[in-house]
Each structure stands twice: as C-alpha cells, then as structure tokens.
Symmetry: C2
Subunit: 427 residues, 2 copies
Amino acid sequence: MKKTKKTKGSALGKSLAKMAQRVREASRVLASLSAKKKNEVLCAMGSALLEHMGLVLEANRKDVARALKKGLPEAFIERLTLDEKRIGEMAESMGEVSRLDDPVGAEIKTWSRPNGLLISKVRVPIGVILVIYESRPNVTSDCIGLCFKSGNAVILRGGSHAIESNTAIFGILQKVIEREGVPADVVSFVKTTDRRAVDMLLQMDQQIDLVMPRGGEALIREVRDKSKIPVIKHYKGVCHIFVDAGADAAMAQKIVLNAKVQRPAVCNAVETLLVHQDIAAGFLPVMVEALQAAGVEVRGCRQTRRIVPQVVRATQEDWYTEYLDLILSVKVVKDVRQAIDHINHYGSSHSDAIVTQNQENAELFLKDVDSACVYVNASTRFTDGYQFGLGAEIGISTDRLHARGPMGLEELTTYKYVIRGSGQIRE
Amino acid sequence: MKKTKKTKGSALGKSLAKMAQRVREASRVLASLSAKKKNEVLCAMGSALLEHMGLVLEANRKDVARALKKGLPEAFIERLTLDEKRIGEMAESMGEVSRLDDPVGAEIKTWSRPNGLLISKVRVPIGVILVIYESRPNVTSDCIGLCFKSGNAVILRGGSHAIESNTAIFGILQKVIEREGVPADVVSFVKTTDRRAVDMLLQMDQQIDLVMPRGGEALIREVRDKSKIPVIKHYKGVCHIFVDAGADAAMAQKIVLNAKVQRPAVCNAVETLLVHQDIAAGFLPVMVEALQAAGVEVRGCRQTRRIVPQVVRATQEDWYTEYLDLILSVKVVKDVRQAIDHINHYGSSHSDAIVTQNQENAELFLKDVDSACVYVNASTRFTDGYQFGLGAEIGISTDRLHARGPMGLEELTTYKYVIRGSGQIRE
C-alpha cells in the first residue's frame, strides 16, 4: 500500500513538473504578445463565456448538488452558485480588462549616465503565477483575464467543491486561447483533487515565480510554510476607525456605520472603533444606538461601558479579531497617539481611518499608522482595486514586499533594466 | 544532555525574540525620523569610524590571526582583512549615503477619484531587515548606513570568522546612534555564533519583514528553505555576451575582454560568449588569442573548436557554470533567436549583452532576454548600484519580486496608500 502511494506520488510529481515546464515555456510567448492581440483574445474569451453559458450552468449544478448533499453551509453554497447574471459579469469583466492599459513594456523611468549609457527601467511580466483558491468559480475567469492581460502564464488550483464549474470555465477559455493561435499552456488548471499536488507545485521554484493563495488564514499560512516560491499573502483585515476630539460627529457616525454595516463579511470592513476620551460621553450613546439599530453587536472597553452600560465587555482577544460579521469592538483612547499605538499593536496593517478636523492629528495618523491604506475622513470600505481606480484587482496584499494593498495589473508585473551603450567598458 | 540543549535553545530563542521585539519597536521611531536627523547621525557614524580606527584594526588583527591559524584560503583572508584605507572607505561611504535623497515620504504618485477621494502612493520603510552575511566586515557598516538612511531597523548576523571586527564596528556605530538620541535598538548585532540562532530568527515573521542573505548559493538556498519571512536572493550571475553578425569587431573584443578580465570574481563578469555563425571564422581566432593572452582559459563548443582547435571542449555543465574565474565558455549560434534561447535556458537572469549594429536584433534581444539587466553594446560589468547612479547598493537581486538587479535606497522601501476624504462612504 505504501509503495503504491509512493509510486503514484512520483507519477503525479512528474506529470505536474512536465505541466509546469510547458507553462514556463508558453509564458515566454505570452510575455512578447502585443497589447492588441491580448485584447482580442480577452474579448473572445468574454464572448465564449456567454456563448457556452449552458455548459457552465450545467457543471455548476453538479457542484451545487454535491455541496448540498454534503450539508455545506449556506454562505458557502451562495459563493459556489452561478447564475446567468454572474456568468454575464464574468464575461463583462473580460471586456473591462481588455480596455485597461497594458502595463507590459511601459517605461517606469529613463536616465543617462555621464559615460553615455542610457538606462531604462521597463515593466515586464512576473512570469508564471500559481493561484490557489477556494470555492468561488468566478476566480477562475478573473485570474485568467488579469494574468493574460499582464503577460503572465497562470496555473490554477481551485477548491475541490467547485471542480466541475472550474473545469468547464477553464475549458471554454483555454479553447479560445488555442483557437487564437496562442500556446494553450499559458493557462493551466490542476484537475486532480489530490492534496499532494499543491505541496509538489510549491517546490517548483524553477518553473513558478509567484504563488497567490486566496482563502482563509490557515490555507495561506500553510502555503507560506511549504513554499520555496515567493508568496503574496492576504491574512486578514482588522480595520480601525479613530474618531478624534472635535470630529464632525455626523460624518463620523456615517463613516462608522458604512464601514461596519454595508458589507460586514469583507476584509475592509471596520472591526474596532476608537474614540477620543474628550468626546466619548457625547458621541458614544448616539453612535451605539445607531449601530444597535442596524443589528450590530457592540463590545466595549471599561470606559465605553461606563458611558453605554448596555454593551458587552470586550476581552483582550477582541482587539485582535477580524469578526467579518455585525460585531464591533469599541475603545476609548486618551489621544491620537494612543489610537496609533493601539492600531499598530493590534491591527493587521490593512486599512485604518481617522475622522478629524485637526490637520496636525490627521497628518500624524497618516504618517505613523503602519498600514497598507490609511484614511482621513473616509470609510475603510474603499480599499479595493476598482474603488482606487486601478481598473481591476487580483487581490489585496497585507505583505510589505512587492505589493501592498489592492493589487491591479501593474502589481502583476516586475521590471528589467534596459541599458543602451556605444561600446562602454568599465574602467 | 539532550535536555540541556533544549533548555539552552529555548533560552536562546527567548532572548532572540525579545531582541527582535525591541528592534520592531525601535523601527517605528526610526521610520518617523527626519532626513536631517538621519543625515547628522550618518555623518557622526562616519567620523566615529575614523576616530576609533585603532579599535577596529586591533579587533580585525585577532580575526585574521585566527583565520590564518585555521589555514583559511588566501582569498578569504583578503576579504577579511581591514586596513586604514578600507576603514576610511567605510567612513566615506557613510558620508556619501548621507548626501543621497531620503526615499522615505516621497510621493510615487497622486490621483483623485470622481467621488473626491485624493489617493497618494507614498514611500515608507520596509520595517525590520535581517541581513545574514559571511566574512567581509565592511558589510556591517554598509548595511547599517543604508538601512538607517532608508528608515529600516536592521538585525545583523555576520560570519563567525569576522566576529571580533564586526563586534567592534557595530559597537562604535551603535554608540553614536544612542548618543544622538535615537533608540539603540534600531541596529542589532547577533553576537552568539550558535548556528541555531539563524534558524530561530527566520521564524520571527511578526518582528522581521525581510531577510537578505549575502553569501554563497548554499547559504541562500538554506535561508530560503527555512524562512517564514520573505527573502530577497542573489543566487549567481551566469552572464552572456552575444556578438551578432555585422557587429563592430573591435568594440566586441573590447567589451568581452572587459567583462571577463577586469574583475573575474564578481557576479557581473561574463561567463559565456555566444558568436553568430556568419562571423565566427573571422572573429573567434582574434578574440581567443586576446583572451588567452590575458590568461583566460577558453572552453568551446564543437563549432568553436573547428575554428580555434587549441581550446578545450566545453561540456553541457559549462553552460550553466558561474566560473568567477579567468575561464570563458564559447558557443557559435545560428542567429539572435538561438542566442536568446540559450541565455533564457542556461543563464541566471542576471546580466546579458548583445554587441550589434542591427537595430532590430538589438530590440529583439532587449525584449526577449529575460534578465534583470539587458545591454546593447556595453559591458555586463556595469550592473552595479553605483554605476547605475543609484548612489549606493545593498546587493543585487536575481529574484523577480519587489526588486530586480541592483538594489539601492528606493528598493529598501515599500509604500502605503494615503487617502484623504471629506466624509466619503461606499454606496
């Protein structure tokens, strides 16, 4: 039994290595493709999704039926389920990506040296990207679109619960790529649901340049621990709003409500409200009433509960927690400095906001809060590639290297130095 | 025995974790320091190195004596040895770094959104950087200077053979930092030579943001395999020069000689010469004669040896090899396409050059050679932060993420998004 497993593992390893090598070779062709050609293929992919909608819906029905039989949670089924509208949005998104500027080949800067060398820093694709994701099937087409436009070959490893839907979507899109004369291997889908496949792929640093795990924190930590390949991670969003003394109270209320209630299950929703001690007695009763009216459970520090006794007590753990739910922890702080220190200590360096009319405090907050996105007088919910005007988003990075915050097409590129001379040698 | 070791390991682990946490906290103070203050401290560090030169020389004599006693190779002793001139250069380099622009706080770009949000992408320090290096003691002061200027706290782990020199240099520089009122923990030096210390540090992804291993490929791979923290790597430089048909032969000779002979032991020296078949018969005899006259051992492919029979035969392994020595492999290729394919297959994506008068071939080479630095009509030896005009260099990256090629102060930063609003919420 052990031997069979080993042999099987090694056969799987060989087939994955061959696949990854084919993707690496195809990536070089894709890297040189013109923007015009890439845009044509993207539009054709969008049309193909609409044309073969029936195929996708049929495959998706199988996944959903299996998931229902297994008794998976309702929210999970909701993310898994496709309908005509969702497939329409996937197709539309291909068109949108085709209309974005091609980042490849753009000159970041150019300068000349005293010896006459002309040096340019030029954007190029990263190469081959492995995306590991859980069960939303639209990620399959979104990643293919964004990677294709940015000149990157992509290896997709989707969740087993969406295997039929992903296989169908992938098949339709790859056929278009092939028909358009681009090597089919610029996109690849790992069809086996064997869990060892991921471990094996994470060792292939000669073939794969970047891993993007999209899913829960446990998945991401596992990928980080096992990977020989650089990983860009999105752990979590423990986002804060600090309401300063002298803030416009109505504005503060509106922003806090929006950041908590508009879509509580996403990473840029607020989880902790910090309130300046000088305004807490006036601000908190009204704020908490509005939150509770919107169905939010409020958990407060000792001082908060002195002002609004009806709220639950927040524990030490609350300050670290990403609720992703209609829960908000509230703490009264001494001043902007204590707010900054709290955020840097308990936060996740994702998105944090100050509501203030004090210019000095605003600038201090922007400078010293060590987060990917820092806001003055706006909702943290704007941390998003589309809202930032990047035109697209492959994810949000809570890492510090390469990309931070929302990642669009530019963040899917790296650069090379192009140096033009006339015979220069080093003395 | 086993128990003692475990206890000792855990005591070491605890003390390293405490140290790393102190560095993390100090890094926040450093990140907010003004350029003026940082420059003053840098100048004071330069002066202190000159003032306490005797101390450094004395410590260095102990290291060198120990290394000689151990019979370490001559080249190693050479890199380890400090003299007044070298310490003078270390001090001067502090002054140079103080005169460079502060990258921290620079706006990369700013734009506004239709809803009135003003978004800026602003450079910020990476945070805490761990540098693991072998035995060149000047790395201690270079890294402190560059990290300090770019607002990064740094943890240094130097090679055991240079422990006395490194401790002396570090002590002098840290004392200046403290005297100037900056937290001493913005720089930290791992004094134990216990090998487990590195393994432990590589797990501290909450305290350390980036690891830069500087040394041989084996060290770098080991760090990469063990680290939970992102690593920027410099594996090796298997650099190529392709001499095209119709190239200026005299220019080609001058460039090849420079790239091979001027300093063969460095990563940007050329290792493989590719020659277009149409000019090989005329070009190679003169070129090989010049190389051999300069003491270079030439290893040729079959076609090369038909033209210059006196050269050794190159094996398959030669094409992958970074000689770091007066050895050059030579291959005759059909055309620019075959040259590009050879480089992308056997090279290390470091620095590669074409010598040509053909504009079309030059552009094809620049576009399709997948290396950090691609040259037309210039020596690969220019791949260097100073030569590029970056003013400084903490290393060269052969990675694709975050930084590629020579890394200066800007590459020691990341960015944050600063968003200014007037009460905007997400609809």
